[in-house]
Amino acid sequence: MSLEQLIRERRSIRKFNGMPVPQDLVKRLLHKAEQLCSYDGEARWRYVYAGTPEARERLADYMIEKFQENKIVKLALGMLTESFHKRFVEVPANLIVFAKTDSDPIIHESSYGTVCRIMQNFQLLGWEERLGMVWITEPAIQSELFFKRVGLQEDERFVGILQIGYFDKAPKGRARTAAERSWTEFVNSGKQEEI
């Protein structure tokens, strides 16, 4: 598969088959993903992995905890929460990603940017191994309670969770807008810039 093909044919996978995902493979891909990012300096991000049945169960519990707090909500959303929980427990492996924040906007932006680039390498490397992933950031997990449960520190921001697993069927791609349509070339106006 050419690099162009890999990039164009990768899909986000939401439906996994039950085949177990070896933790060693995830680590190997992650190592390579960092290497291919060619960043300078120290790593300002970290990963928390949930791949065992116990850890997956715990993560799914955290994800629905917010809906369990209120009795009325719990009653009203009971069935929904249950299917939500089941869906999360079934995900073979989860990689939770955090990035360090910083008061310096440049460090702050580049840390987040770099870890996002690592995640893209990781998704592409996974695809080569027929390993599907989806990067979730959905509102259900955007809560202080959830962040606390998964161990987000005060000087960190939540980047997302990569749900990982093998799959039987990939969805069709949705066409992208041609880059030409989002392209502008800056040309000199001929006026001197005021400094």
Partner: protein
Amino acid sequence: MKLMDRSIEPQSSLQFNNHPVPQALILELLNHAVWAPNHRLREPWRFIYVGENSRDELAFIRTKAPGHLIITMKNESSTHKQDENLAAIFCLIQNFKLLAWDKKLGVRVSFYEWMFDQRHCQKLGVTDKERIAAVLELGFIHEWQDAVPKPAATLNWSLL
């Protein structure tokens, strides 16, 4: 070659030559790179290209490179969506960087204080509905050598 077997030169050791970077090539690579995952297909990016000869009026861009590609991001009302847009843009940037390396084109992903300066943004035509996500400095590699993979750093890894 599989991505697994590829390597990329670290950003700090990239040396560009003076050859201009054809816009057609950048667009060709971008049209692959836009296959980045992005939430709800918002495609939150826009590209502003500044060639080597167009920098006269942009004194705030101090880095020398045959080409500058400024990537802007559509602003969103919530931090959560804003972060999603940023993430999508960095996925696109990484796609672009990998594709460019294959053409011996180096890409430095850079961040500067002027990115956050409204006056400079206006000068570049960045509207108030968007912001600059990153600046890519582009140039063909001076004295090409295959990159040597750097030793793997320890992962900041723990178990839930």
